[in-house]
């Protein structure tokens, strides 16, 4: 059984700490991390503000992680997603997956990211400007390939 950790936090996370915990699991021969970082979109932005649906967010991310653990042989999955104001260059999300063999960790990290984008109830607002980030059709297409 994969060990699944999901956290929604306002404060920054330390990738190295999350990876250190995953590497204690067995059997682990591969750890893949995905870090999503706040982009300035060509200098247009200084920050994003992330809103979410407390209670549903954790449950939905748990479901996504459990699906990945069902589909691939995983030792552990850690997902940390920040909410609130996030400055350009700061981390937004970490997905870390540990497995015995590399393809399981690589594919599961990709799967989890695709469904975090399309199913986890987060919404990004741009600063300056206050515009809500538009959902990308390409994210729906990316999620469809796992059917």
């Amino acid at each position: 059984m994969a060990e699944i950790t999901v956290r929604i936090e306002g404060d920054p996370f330390e990738m190295a700490e999350e990876v250190a915990r995953l590497r204690m699991l067995r059997p682990v021969g591969a750890i893949v991390t995905f870090t999503g970082i706040c982009r300035d979109e060509g200098g247009r932005l200084t920050a994003l503000e992330l809103e979410h649906y407390p209670g549903m967010t954790e449950a939905e991310i748990q479901r996504i992680a459990a699906e990945a653990a069902e589909r691939w042989a995983l030792a552990g999955v850690t997902i940390v997603h920040r909410v609130g104001k996030i400055a350009v260059g700061d981390d937004i999300v970490l997905v870390a997956v540990a497995s015995a063999h590399r393809s399981a960790a690589l594919e599961a990290a990709s799967y989890i990211m695709d469904f975090l984008k399309t199913r986890a109830p987060f919404w990004k607002k741009e600063y300056p400007g206050g515009e809500w980030v538009a959902h990308r059709h390409s994210d729906d297409e990316a999620a469809k390939r796992w059917k």
């Binding site: 992330l50 549903m56 939905e60 937004i92 975090l116 399309t118 986890a120 109830p121 987060f122 959902h135």
Partner: protein, 83 residues
Amino acid sequence: MKLVYFAWVRERIGLKDEEVSLPAEVATAGDLLAWLKQRGPEYEHALSEPRAIRVAIDRVHGGPDTPLAGAREVALFPPMTGG
């Protein structure tokens, strides 16, 4: 039933959440959207494009045909942009 709103749906309606008593003919999430649109210009503005609105029933994603019977909390929000 509790309705909760997020992102620009919340901003346009001007409420984070509210309690409503639904008429008996409002049986699905799609019915709920149609009923809410008639409640005033803020709702009309927020829900003018029903295809851009996502629905969660008791914190699980649903669609227009999802029945509301027994639901305690229904959330309306735009397509998600996390990750």
